[in-house]
Every structure is written in structure tokens, then in C-alpha cells.
Symmetry: C2
Amino acid sequence: MQNLVEYIQTLGQKARLASREVGRASTLTKNQALLAMVEAILAERETIRRENAKDLAFGRERGLSPALLDRLELTEARIDAMAEGLRQIASLPDPIGEIEGLKCRPSGIQVGRMRVPLGVIAVIYEARPNVTVDAAGLCLKAGNACILRGGSEAIHSNRALLACIQQGLRQAGLPDTAVQLVETTERAAVLELIRQDRYVDVIIPRGGRSLIEAIVAESRIPVIKHLDGVCHVYIDDRADLAKAIRIAVNAKTQRFGVCNAMETLLVAEGIADKVLPPLAEEYRKAKVELRGCTRTRQIIACLPATEDDWYAEYLAPILAIRVVSGLDEAIEHIARYGSAHTDAIVTEDLNHARRFLREVDSSSVMVNASTRFADGFEYGLGAEIGISTDKLHARGPVGLEGLTTQKFIVLGDGHIRT
Amino acid sequence: MQNLVEYIQTLGQKARLASREVGRASTLTKNQALLAMVEAILAERETIRRENAKDLAFGRERGLSPALLDRLELTEARIDAMAEGLRQIASLPDPIGEIEGLKCRPSGIQVGRMRVPLGVIAVIYEARPNVTVDAAGLCLKAGNACILRGGSEAIHSNRALLACIQQGLRQAGLPDTAVQLVETTERAAVLELIRQDRYVDVIIPRGGRSLIEAIVAESRIPVIKHLDGVCHVYIDDRADLAKAIRIAVNAKTQRFGVCNAMETLLVAEGIADKVLPPLAEEYRKAKVELRGCTRTRQIIACLPATEDDWYAEYLAPILAIRVVSGLDEAIEHIARYGSAHTDAIVTEDLNHARRFLREVDSSSVMVNASTRFADGFEYGLGAEIGISTDKLHARGPVGLEGLTTQKFIVLGDGHIRT
């Protein structure tokens, strides 16, 4: 155990030192490193595939589910996608150094804010080796050092990818300790990592709820986290019927297993008779199981919804439906049962739209658009390291800017306080 | 104990409900409440003084130090200052509802960010009753409900002030549960409060390091905290001598017991012979004890500095002085020993200034200005709830904006994702 503590502390110390070098690196140097990583990954394609095959063989022996094995596998297409992802990160504008709102104050000083890296970021994730490359690329472009801890099932793949990443760093003249991997598969390593508040500035966990809750309970370091996505679409009595149907179908059926898919549909009683029957027909075609409140079941045939359904994140072809009296009850329902992820209203009424935008307290609030748009690429952030359901610091899709902070800068000419 | 748990949970639930009402309240309503609080405080001046006298009498009996008794006392002038503080908060622009960067995306949707309240803020502080009024005013203006836990020595004063605050809320038609006080003086109440992650969005502790560290260790809720202020002034070899002396004297001597006072002076060896003797003379006049490195002591007479002095936040008329080879060594020293609060360079060299601004990782970084400017009023934030030495969310002086967050808003016209 002593060795593990020392090992993690050493990773932290090295990351802290490296963070100062990447924090002041020029945009050109960081982009050169990203593109050298691309070269290395493409050149080492065979090695990566071979190491990945070891993980897959181990995984099959240990009886991993087909879904997990699928996420673990690095196909040719996925290797190309990782490389393309790094190229895209290289092409994004560098957020570091931007100065905002520099103003003259009555005392004579100028005060503004400069965007700067967070420092050292620890990313804790499951057995998805492509996250290793994405996270390393995003952290580097935002001027941070990172410590990566991927699922132990992907250790061979991750080591092979790390070798390419570190080669890219060295080629650009950056310290290869700017991206480090926790090489031990011991679970205690995570516990130790989240206590290194001297060396680590923020933890980003990507994984299931239990992993994230355990980290929050034990961490002394701020955590940017993603919990549930219980997303709602509310069809207002002033909705356009065609838009309502298009959005409600897309939000539920475009993909089922994603956090920004709709899980509960709220319908104003004034429009329920008109909109529910054609919607039910669309959901029947898409094989979506419907669970409705009493009033819903007076209009369409479906299973009864229980209290638990309103809290449920199905991530599956199941939809809860509730008829509400109008906007106020819809907002109440979302405040009570929602997870503050993404919620949408369909309405042609300007004041209803304004109230929904202001009063629904979610990371993304939408008017006449599908919840499926809640995504870093769709929002123009370029790439995302995750979606935050926290309120502090970063909320919603987290791109490069979420991996930075701002400091105050003050410019004077010998000014003193009197 | 069961009763305490229930009591704190009930406070949390009421605050959560109230937060939705103040979150959507208009600027006019919030300002009316703030001004009604002013009226109530001025009208109840005698009651406030009488209740404060009880706290002072108890405090004297319990042997509180003169410094603590001084902070506890609500003089006529302090009551006026609290009222004036609320008036100023009412006159500040309302940050809530501001929409930033609304852009059209290739998909046809518009995406931007809207500034919204955090929700429920718990402020934990010592026996300074004026903080009760400041914190309530700032939280309300930023659209938040708050739960206040002041030092138990101030309980009578705080209750009297709370009555005025709640009267103001009611007069404006807002729920008086938007500002609540933890009325029990039991310490366990704080422990319970910082675990209410369902009802409280952020904790702001104001007090000594041990209070803050205990809260961070136990809290499941994000904490915006202020730890040490080990501030540096670095006099570069390219400094203007007169500006260097003016700034170094002001940063140390304008006030001693404040977090933005200089604690360590760094001097480039190229200018040390010229600048240290006149500076030592100024510090002698201001009765500042000097503790220098070996090279400093070859130039001026002073006590020897030990390794501990470089880490020290004296908050007293003591100054550590170190001669460094130049900019690189100064940046190294600050990275190693500093507390990332506020650091300044004095130089006429543009590139030295640029590098210092970029590479020193502190909440405020200054060029040719006294560290004493690190303050919400001086920065034009209007009023501050504290200074954050955290990197996430709010860094440096925290005004109204630090008590808010941003959500994404998406505007479409029936747009779906394909």
C-alpha cells in the first residue's frame, strides 16, 4: 500500500511540474504535439491492434458482456476516428491567454480577466480506450497536464496509445509527463488519486452513477460530473402540431441509449386529444413502449405509469407520458422529477417560451428543438470531454473552455491604494 | 440528534422551494425587497442595538478577546454601513437572465448561454453580524435563496437582523424563507448542513483555515473557499525605482491584517543594491520587521529568514525578503511558496510583464500596481461575498456573478437531429 501511495504521489508531482510547461506552451507547439500524436497512432496501428487484441482476449476469458467488448474494441475505423479527433482538436482556437473585459477603474488601474489552464486534470473512465486519446488531446490543447485512469480491462490498449501520445509530446519539445496513465489496475489507486489535492485541480469521472457517487463521497478535489439524463419534452397547448410530433419522435427514437434522449413526454390537456393519437402511432412503428398517466390512458392505449416512471432514465425504447394542465404544471413536474440535464418546450407562444427558458433549471433548455441537440459538436464547442450536470464551473457539454479558468489581471503604472 | 437532522433538512427544503420564487423574481421586486430591508433595519435600530448588547455581554462573560468583541459590536456607524451596503447592492445591475453568445449553428438551431442563479447557497461565518446582511443581500440580488450560519456568539444580533431581512422580503411579496438562519448554536448543525446536497448547491465558508478545511473534508457539496494569502511583489531588474518603492511600501504597510497585503518581497539581483536600502528605511519608519535571505543581509541589516518564512502569511508588520537572479527565479519562487492569491511584478520591460502575467498562476496577477487592489470594490464588482482561492467556478474576488451560473439555451423552429 505504501508503494501505491508513493506511486500516485509521484504521478501527481510530475503532472504538476509538467502542467507549468504545457500551461505556457504556444498554440503552435501544442498543435504540433497533437499532429505528431496523429502520425504516431497511424504509424503504430498494428501495435495498437495487437495490444487491443490482448485486452479483448482477456475480456472474453473473463466473460465481459458483448456491449463492453464492443466498447473495448479498437477497429480500424475507430483508430482513424481517434486520429481525426486529434486533428479536429488541433484546428480549434486556443482558449488560453484570451483577455476579457479589460476596463479602466476610477483608481487608474486597468482590470480584466485572462483565460488560463486549470492545471492538472485527472480523468477516470471505463474500458473505452478511445477516451484515452480524446481526453489527452483536449487537456493538452487547454494547456493542462492530465492523469488518466481507464478501466483495467483496457490496460494494454491504453499503454499502446499512451506511447503514441507521449511520442507526440516529445517531438514537440513538451514533457511526456504532461499525459500520464495510472498503470496499476488496483482499485485503491483511484481512491489515492482523488485525495491528491496538492497536485490535482479537478477530477472528471466518466462512467456509471455508482462510480461517480463513490468519487464525490471520497474526493477532496472538485469533481465535474455527469449524473442522470431524465430529459423532458413539454408539448404546450399553443404548440404547432406538426413540430410537436416531429420533435417528440426525434427526441425519443433517434437514439435510445443516450443521455439527451427524452424519457418523459408532458402534454398540455388542451392539445392532448389531438397530439397523442398520431404520436402513439409513430411510437408504435418505432416499437417504443408507452406508460401513461390516467388521463393519457383515456386517450391512447398504453401501460399505466407509476410514480417511479417519472424518475426513470430508461435509456431504452420506453417512454413515460403525462397530461398536465399547462405550463405551470409542466415546470413543476420538471422541477420535481427531472435531473436538470436537458428539457424542451414546443410552443408558438412567446411568453410561454420565455417563461420556460427562464424558469426551467436545467443545463440545456430548448424551445422548438429536439433534446438530442444537447451535445458539444452540435453546440459548436468542437469536441466535448463530457456533459456536466453540475451547476458550478461547467454546466452542460464541456469543451475546451470548461477545462480552463480565468484569473484577474491588473495593469498599473505605479498605482497604489490609498 | 434526530431533531437536528430534521430541522436542517426542513431548512433545506424550504430554501429549495423559495429559490424557485426568487430565481424568477423581477429585478424590480428584488430591489424593492433590498430597499425594504434598509427601511426595516433603520426603523429597528434600537432593537438591533439591544440584541447586540446581549451578545456583547455574553461575550464578555465568556472572555472573548477584544478583537472578537470588536467584530461582534454593531455600532451606529456599522448599522448605517449595513444599510448603505444593501442600497448599493440594489443599485448594481441584475446579472440574471443575461444571454451571451447566441449563435446560429449549421443545423439551424440558435445556441447561447443564459445567466441563472445557483439555487441555494449556504454561508457559514464567524461572529460578524454585518455578514448576515451582506450575504443575504448579495444572494438575493443574484436570485438565490440562502441559509446563513453565523457564529453562535452573534445569535441575538443575527436574529434581530434576520427579522428585518424577512420583513423586507415579505413587503416585496417574496417568501421569507428565501433567507433563513440556522437558529441552533449546536456545532453539529454545520456538519448536517454541508451534507444536504439535495437542497444546497454551494457552500461559502468565511473564517479561519481550520473551519474551511474541516468543511472541505466533510462536505458533499461544492465549496467556494478562501485559504491563504501569501502575496508577493517582485521588483524586476528593469523596474522603475520610484514605482518599485511606492508599490512595495503600499503593498506591505497600507494595512497589515488583510489577505492581499504583501508577505514576501522578491528583488532581482541587478537592482537589489539600489532598491533595498531606501526600502529598508521606509519599512523602518513603518515599524516593519524585515527577515532576509543571505544576499539581502549583505545589503541591508535585518534578521535571517528561514525556510518557514517563505511560506508564512504573517498578517502582521513582518516582511520576508529574497534576492533572486531574475524573472525565472521569481516565478519559480512564487510557484513553490505562494498561495495563488495575488502577486505583482514591477517592471518597465514589456516581455517580462507579459511572461509574469501569463505564467504566474494566481487569482490576481498585477503589473506595476499594489497587491492591495485585489478587492471586489476596486475591481468594479460592486460588492464581494469573499475572495476565492479556488480555481473552479469563481477565482479571486467573488461578486454577484460568482453567485450565478450559466445554462445553455437552444432556440429552434421544429428542428430535429438527423
